[in-house]
Subunit: 350 residues, 2 copies
Amino acid sequence: MEVVIAQSERLKAQKLAPTKKRQIGLGEPHAILVSGAAGFVGSKLARLFVDRGYPVFGFDDLSRGSRQNLSGLLTHERFIFEKVDLSDAGAVRSRFMDCHSRIPISEVWHMAANSDIAAGIADASVDLRDTFLSTFNVLNAMKEAGVPFLAFASSSAVYGDLGEAPIREDVGPLLPVSNYGAMKLASEALISAAVENWLARALLFRFPNVIGVPATHGVILDFVRKLRITPNKLNVLGSGRQQKAYLHVNDLIDAIVYLRANASERLGYYNIGPGDNGVTVSFIAETTVGAVAPGAGIEYGVEDRGWTGDVPRFSYDIAKISALGWRPQLGSADAVRKAVGEIVRQEGHL
Amino acid sequence: MEVVIAQSERLKAQKLAPTKKRQIGLGEPHAILVSGAAGFVGSKLARLFVDRGYPVFGFDDLSRGSRQNLSGLLTHERFIFEKVDLSDAGAVRSRFMDCHSRIPISEVWHMAANSDIAAGIADASVDLRDTFLSTFNVLNAMKEAGVPFLAFASSSAVYGDLGEAPIREDVGPLLPVSNYGAMKLASEALISAAVENWLARALLFRFPNVIGVPATHGVILDFVRKLRITPNKLNVLGSGRQQKAYLHVNDLIDAIVYLRANASERLGYYNIGPGDNGVTVSFIAETTVGAVAPGAGIEYGVEDRGWTGDVPRFSYDIAKISALGWRPQLGSADAVRKAVGEIVRQEGHL
């Protein structure tokens, strides 16, 4: 334990002396930078890379993520956290170059983004800043530092509303229906141009709806919280017939590190999902009611869409990642059942 | 003539009293705002709308466009020019709302963008600002003012390098190879989300290579200027085998006003081009040499691409606009011949 603390102190001392370049010896791993490191996906990814022996720099503005998600990491010898507004070009550049001068960064995992789609529709500047300019600034810093590899959390939202036809990675047109989807597509486009022009390699992960804990938003958390307030009744936005694929976060993490090891393209872009056609909102409502408040009535709205910018149903094709040999552990229904249990515990219901 | 001046003075007086709202009488046309109004396409479009009887607000930062392109418009009774940096959110908002309070704007034709693709690759912030944030700011101002219609100058660059397969509007994936293409795709995505959420209607024009005068950049102008310096020799970047479709600017203007009248979708997106597979760079070199310096030698490079971010050849499908009844006057070869003549005259060679 003393050794761990000593190494941690050494890293922190280096943090205070950013001008002193650290020389990397042969065989010493380079660092991985995870943006959005205090968030739902980023925190799990940072943990995984630390556990695999990498020094990890975690960037987050702590607006949606939290230090709580980093418990066990903040004091770890190989983890250095930087609170930084990723939409601030100057701040990103300075923190990035400082970290890079301490331990050369060989990979950036850019997970930071706005996660509140409705907020981004009400005010386009939210996704401009947090979903797009964050990518722009991280890319610029990577270019300056000469970092060769970027992994990016894109989204099924880049596809917009393509109806019920199976969505493969090469479909068109790409006409997003939310500013979130638009700024994820904008980020993909920028990364694509970077790969053409200077970036050695990039992976774009088109995330589906991802569920699990720590939950900060999403339909299950909404339902659990509504039922805490009115335990005998659950009001559902929309008709309940909206159908979506849900992937458990454990499967998501498994998929992206699998792609890191197995995808070989210079610019790889992959749908990630459970491989089924998903479950309806009414299934999620019933599962949540069953876990939290058996017997509560469920009332539905009339619209097929819960809110503007929502896509009522789609079929998410994962043949491309499947061809590399990856399989999810849980389908949509099991992922929802597992996440409902986890979120109920998180919220202290049981 | 006195009447014209009087009306012009009246508009200018209103410009000085922006708080006084102008009431629009029945039958009085609303105004059209053209961004990039001092540019190659925008100046022609502004002229056309003025000639059709619309009051036109022309926005331009005069960085690539010029007042010279507005000769005959600047003194016109129905044209008001505003020098404004479209990447400056506050400036766009204030000038836009001021114009809108004088004459309600019913259409925005957003033609402003960076036009120097290579500059945008060297420094990503060029296209961030001029190709993307300009769109973001114009959209935000439209939302605030409640303007229902946007026409947008997109680009074939959104398609990236899809090889030699015919490029229809619904192909995928969309992986641009330049920051220009990336920021045009980002703009399209943002407009798509706007149409889903608040904008009544939008048209996205995916421009091909457009040629004609006033030329400020492009391969023909490059060749003419090179031959002025070394009249006996033309050095061509790349192998000369790059093949592209070229549309004359007169056909382009014709196509976009045709779509305004004939496309009926809430979100229309159209390739615009000559409908052929284009001509090679060597054809352009030979045509230019023939017009400027007959007998001069032409020397080619070895690369298939003239510069990074260039797409060596593609086949641009215009079946969608053709189905509405539009046809270009000139194919690629005739467009090049005509533009060579025009640019030679512009440059004072003959």
